[in-house]
């Protein structure tokens, strides 16, 4: 369905629609991200983040990584974002108009971020990425079953380590956030 060949000259109408969709999603993602970092209202920032994460999930779909896309939706949008919104609500400082959004280093940070972004973009765009020859079919996407198998065979150790890390995180979070007993 998707053929990833940047230099492919034959662009069909379907391709064109897909390309338009891609650009649209990409723009939506970046806009969501921009909202996330700029919104004065923290709740709105969280919604922007949701948009950005959703966009990324769609981008995963474009890359034929369906499982990852689903995971992205489930974990980020479903779990982390919910958590963040809870946090925002608990801290009860959703928006304070008197407070500036940014700290004092905003200007230099902007310059830095622009430099990084432009630099990276420049590198990405100008690097001569290896392009498979038109005659060769592009490599097949990784099937879900292979992913699952490799997760519990080759990458079993990191997988298990990750689970232990998560367990630790769970315990740690509970310990940290627990309400300390009053000494009295």
């Amino acid at each position: 369905m998707f053929a990833m060949s940047p230099g492919n000259p034959s662009i069909g109408p379907l391709d064109l629609a897909a390309r338009a969709a891609f650009y649209g999603v990409a723009c939506a993602t970046l806009i969501g991200a921009a909202i996330t970092v700029t919104a004065r209202n923290l709740f709105r920032a969280a919604l922007g983040l949701a948009l950005a994460l959703f966009g990324v999930a769609v981008l995963y779909l474009f890359l034929e990584a369906e499982f990852l896309a689903v995971s992205q939706l489930l974990i980020y949008v479903g779990a982390i974002l919910t958590l963040i919104i809870f946090g925002v609500m608990l801290t009860a400082q959703i928006a304070s108009p008197t407070q500036p959004r940014f700290n004092r280093q905003a200007g230099i940070s902007l310059a830095l971020a622009l430099a990084v972004g432009l630099g990276l973009g420049w590198i990405f765009l100008t690097s001569g990425w290896p392009s498979p020859s038109p005659k060769e079919p592009p490599p097949a996407p990784v099937p879900l079953s292979a992913l699952g198998r490799s997760l519990i065979s080759i990458y079993l150790l990191p997988f298990e380590l990750l689970s232990i890390l998560l367990l630790g995180t769970l315990v740690g979070a509970i310990v940290i956030a627990r309400k300390e007993k009053d000494p009295e």
């Binding site: 390309r19 970092v37 995963y60 990584a65 995971s71 958590l83 997760l151």
Partner: protein
Amino acid sequence: MIVPLPQLLAVSAGLFAIGLFGALTRKNAIGILMSIELILNSANLNLVAFNRIWGEPSGLGQVMALFVIGTAAGGAVVGLALILTIFRHRQTISADEIKLLKG
């Protein structure tokens, strides 16, 4: 449909830059956390994209992306727990009012 790799990478670069800017500038700790999530997502995007283009059969890139998501979740949990605790103690989550690292 062709997803052109450079353009995809450019999106990830943009995400990264925006995330970086947010992490550097947001006063609110939760805002910083969200910015970091953006950065992580940009990295994930790269991983998946490269995995796709080189067709690594075991799906290394996707696996790594999954791990990143997992650790990000963990990070978010701990980070939020910290933020809540700090807030409980200081009634603020403004990062420039928290100077625990000041020697």
